[in-house]
Amino acid sequence: MITPLTIVTPASEREAFEAYQGGAGSAAYYAGGTELLLLMKQGVAQHDVLIDLKGIVSLSGISRAGADRVRVGSCVKHREIERSPLLGDLLPLLPTVERHVANVRVRNAGTLGGNLCFAEPHSDMTLVTLLLDGEIGVFDGKATRTIPAGEFFVGAYETAMQPGDLLCHVDFPVPRAGTVFGYQQFRLHERPSCVVGVVLQPTKDGKGCRRAAVGEGAAGLAPRRSPAAEALLENVSWEEAAGRAAEVGRVLAEEAEPLEDLTGSEEYKRHLIDVLAQRAISETLGRREANNA
């Protein structure tokens, strides 16, 4: 049972931060509650004050931020991302992956910010944010600083944020037109046990790949990109990229640090990463051909 508590409803980021400081260590930020309430029901976490963030206007909404970024507020729910025409247009990887996050009920309540702050190892959105070079805006009581996704995910349930820091939004750079992606997952349960994502940006003439993002998640403690695998796919023609899929799979699987658990041994998960990487590359190149057809 959840122990007695109070809910407060700050109207601004600063009020939320002050409520946290006033909570003497027993306050928690509360967005969708899909992770937090599970912990509280089990008695793993106990809080006297929940700071309901959903009324803070600046944490909501999906909008363009300048010419080349899209800003997603931390309290934006998974289903809003899934159904956003703007994201479907500019960053289709996000809504495509969202369709398979958890289930409709969790997506109706859970938020992007809650997902990233919790940094559950089996999260899809942590890997996607990493692949898309998300810039995470965090309010620390004085200013809002930007933490690149590459520095944000430190470990299992561990991020670069300090206690009391408030995740405000994520800015996603809009990739150049013609950018294509692939995303493969292996699921036995509600949360995936292994995921691999690939994003390939075309050269100016469109004949090959200029920049690649390749990473895996869910198998280990935190999502990781592989610069070595990415290098294999950069500044090559599309045909060469296709020919390197097996090598990319091998490199990604070798570099990964999968953990043995009920869903498989370390060796088994390395094999999954290898296979999923190759499939993600053919999915990516298939999308390019479909776009050009």
């Binding site: 049972m1 959840i2 122990t3 007695p4 508590l5 109070t6 809910i7 509650g33 899909t34 309430l37 599970l38 029901k41 929940l50 309901d52 369709r99 958890a102 289930n103 409709v104 009920r105 969790v106 109706n108 309540a109 349960h189 509600e190």
Partner: protein, 165 residues
Amino acid sequence: MSSLHGFDLRMQVNGQPVELEVGYNELLIDVLRDRLGLTGTKRSCDMEVCGVCTVLVDGQMVSGCTTLAWEARGKNVETIEGLAEGDKLHPIQEAFVEHNGFQCGFCTPGMILSTKALLKEYPQPDKATIQWYLHGNICRCTGYKKIIDSVEAAAQAQAQTAGAD
């Protein structure tokens, strides 16, 4: 009257206004079952996986087991008890009866409410859409085939009524 640990919850439940003093820590499922006697909403996994606790809040499906009653402030909550009109079953309920969409019936309130949300969003879903939308509702009896048949029949019935209007 709100106090340190509780507040005055005003919401609509199945179209009826309800007002009661609720703890901030109380879960929606407990308020519905224990305080309002609406025991059609079930609890099983208690971790947002199985869907037997599904209720609709302003038409959106949520897990009653892991939603604070707080979230229902000013909202319209629908439970399985709200679907039939007297002895007249809702068309989705009719479809589940007609097509044997349940055996023990434990998952059924959640299945039917999820189907209601599905058909509002996708009035003519294909099989893949039904499977995708309902994958968070677990049934240990039917093997799902008859549930999908029931949902397809409910979609058809809904289309016919819409056409007749």
